[in-house]
């Protein structure tokens, strides 16, 4: 059941990445939703789940992009395992800790991705440090905002149906 959940999350992340959101030049989005799913899943469920989420998420991402199959798979596997190990040993309780961790993971992923391309002697697809920085920052923000929205939306919807102000901050939580 948990495996299916992770699989569905990765499939949804890939769909959102490729079809739903079309921003930025080139038609692509500068946010890596698959990486966000891999990091958050690994933090919550440990290194083994992180490993498989990273492997399959990365491989499917490679297969759908124009690059070499395995590069994204390898980098996301390492990120998944690393995040799982960190998640099982430390508590990333605050928003700032999680934000910093996702930004760090994004930077590691981007530089290892470009590093592998350099190692195998191929022209790397993107080398702009600005683009890497923007992607890491956006990944961090999305990794904080989207789970928060999923947490507060049911309560907001409940309040809206009752005819009360759904944006009343003190009422966002259901408990």
């Amino acid at each position: 059941m948990k495996t299916a959940q992770v699989g569905i999350l990765i499939a949804v992340a890939l769909l959102v990445q490729t079809t739903v959101i079309k921003i930025g030049a080139g038609g692509g989005t500068p946010v890596d939703f698959v990486l966000i799913v891999v990091v958050l899943t690994a933090l919550q469920r440990g290194p083994v789940v992180g490993l498989w989420a990273g492997t399959f998420g990365g491989l499917f991402q490679d297969a759908l992009s124009g690059g070499i199959i395995g590069v994204s798979g390898l980098t996301k596997t390492i990120i998944g395992v690393g995040s799982g190990v960190v998640g099982s040993r430390f508590i990333l309780g605050t928003v700032w800790h999680r934000l910093a961790f996702v930004i760090g993971a994004s930077l590691v992923q981007a530089f290892s991705y470009l590093g592998i391309y350099s190692l195998i002697g191929l022209k790397s697809p993107m080398v702009s440090f600005n683009a890497v920085g923007v992607e890491a920052g956006l990944n961090g923000v999305v990794a904080i905002v989207v789970p928060w929205l999923f947490r507060v939306m049911p309560a907001m919807f409940h309040r809206f149906r009752q005819g009360r102000n759904p944006l009343n901050r003190r009422r966002w939580t259901t408990s």
Partner: protein, 289 residues
């Protein structure tokens, strides 16, 4: 004693995870090495994933467009009368323009005949819809809803109404194909400065809103604002299609100028494109010209 057993189990589990990580990493390294050494082509995993996922992407894009259309239809109803009046006025103006253009076209045709110019051969094209963008932020590709079944093949040119978009890469699926955009770092196209007919090669850069024209000698006259069009010598892109406008010209380090070109196509807003179906026609047209 039970504590020691528990500790051993934890150690065993950690060791097993370690071996698993090592095995998966090794498998990836082997997979990457195999592709680097092998001849270029599309792997089975790539074809299957692309084929299956393209169908899901087509469905999701249709659903998304449906929702957007319903919403924009609703919003569009408001103020539709004012828009109607404005559009009617525009149609009247356009009809007048059309008359003038027809007169001009007739004049041009008769001039062509007079000069015995060869009539331009219309290229066979196929309209396609953009159903997805790249799955990573690193590459600049699109997926269109036409594939092998519609006659789409690798290396066919893809154009939009305003200019060149890119070319088909990889093995197209039965009902979908991947298009490498001209702004991808690995993309290139033969190009001409329209004003002076100076030729060069336009390539993608790190900046998605910028192209660079290479191999143009320092002695050539290129100015900011010059139109860049395809030269057709690459055998992929038909000759004379717009690529962009020169935004900056600098004397390069070696023999060549550093020319920045702003692409004419707004790649993030692309919805419909045309696939040029006959690459042979493109080649023969370029050769004959």
């Amino acid at each position: 004693m039970p504590t020691q057993v528990g500790l051993e189990t934890v150690m065993d589990r950690r060791q097993r995870t370690g071996y698993l990580v090592l095995a998966v990493v090794l498998a990836h390294v082997i997979l990457i090495s195999a592709q680097v050494n092998a001849a270029p082509g599309t792997s089975v995993l790539q074809s299957v994933t692309f084929g299956v996922f393209a169908e899901v992407q087509r469905w999701v894009t249709s659903a998304r467009d449906g929702v957007f259309n319903v919403w924009s239809g609703y919003v569009g109803l408001r103020g539709v009368r004012e828009a109607n009046l404005r559009l009617n006025a525009e149609i009247s103006d356009l009809r007048l323009d059309l008359q003038e253009q027809r007169a001009l076209a007739n004049q041009t045709r008769s001039l062509e005949r007079l000069l015995e110019l060869r009539e331009t051969v219309a290229l066979p094209t196929l309209s396609a819809r953009v159903i997805a963008v790249d799955s990573t932020p690193y590459f600049r590709t699109l997926t269109v809803d036409r594939g092998r079944d519609n006659g789409v093949r690798t290396d066919l040119a893809v154009i939009a109404s305003v200019g060149v978009v890119g070319r088909v890469v990889g093995d197209p699926g039965p009902r979908a194909a991947q298009v490498q955009l001209l702004i991808d770092r690995n993309a290139a196209a033969g190009a001409l400065v329209e004003r002076t007919r100076t030729s060069g090669v336009v390539v993608g850069t790190d900046d998605p809103a910028l192209l660079v024209m290479e191999y143009v000698s320092n002695l050539e006259d290129v100015r900011v604002g010059d139109e860049i069009v395809t030269s057709g010598i690459d055998g992929i892109y038909p000759k004379g299609f717009r690529i962009g406008k020169v935004t900056n010209v600098e004397e390069g380090v070696g023999l060549y100028q550093l020319i920045h070109v702003e692409p004419i196509v707004k790649f993030s807003q692309l919805e419909d494109v045309l696939v040029v179906l006959n690459s042979q026609a493109v080649r023969s047209r370029a050769e004959s010209e």
